[in-house]
Amino acid sequence: EPEVTQTPSHQVTQMGQEVILRCVPISNHLYFYWYRQILGQKVEFLVSFYNNEISEKSEIFDDQFSVERPDGSNFTLKIRSTKLEDSAMYFCASSEELRNEKLFFGSGTQLSVL
């Protein structure tokens, strides 16, 4: 079964450093998303992406965050200057045809900011 893949599985960084989280969505899916989850708590929406542009973003997704689809397969989330409170599990997800319906999630990247 096709799956969303994320790398790395763990990322440790110093406060103020830039990090790039990588995702390969399912190939025929049209919508891509980033979510984060702090310590198994609520799943928080960050951003959705469609047709090579951001379609929606949350208040969390401020100027420190950016997303990119640099080629036909990768989808990246960049945090320019990490803060302690950015420590969380970051999930990439994709959906096939309709926005916000039947999301397939990757296994996540656990980001630890020290």
Binding site: V43, N100, K102, F105, G108
Partner: protein, 109 residues
Amino acid sequence: GQQVMQIPQYQHVQEGEDFTTYCNSSTTLSNIQWYKQRPGGHPVFLIQLVKSGEVKKQKRLTFQFGEAKKNSSLHITATQTTDVGTYFCAMDSNYQLIWGAGTKLIIKP
């Protein structure tokens, strides 16, 4: 902003007992989705409910959507150890999915 309330936060059951989680919204929903997250895992889509009063079953799982489309429930009959995890409801609001806080199903040893 729009929120969905999900209760309870935790439910401890003996294996073989039933489990239920509830989601409530103050506004009418277009649809509601349910996801399961195993410990240390990622959310996995279970089902989407769209119609008023809809009831769907997946083996021992029964999903209901209220008549007013403001609430939903997930009921598991005769829980098994494989059911352990956190169950989330999620609703589409302002072009983003809003997630409930989740109900953690814990099987008592």
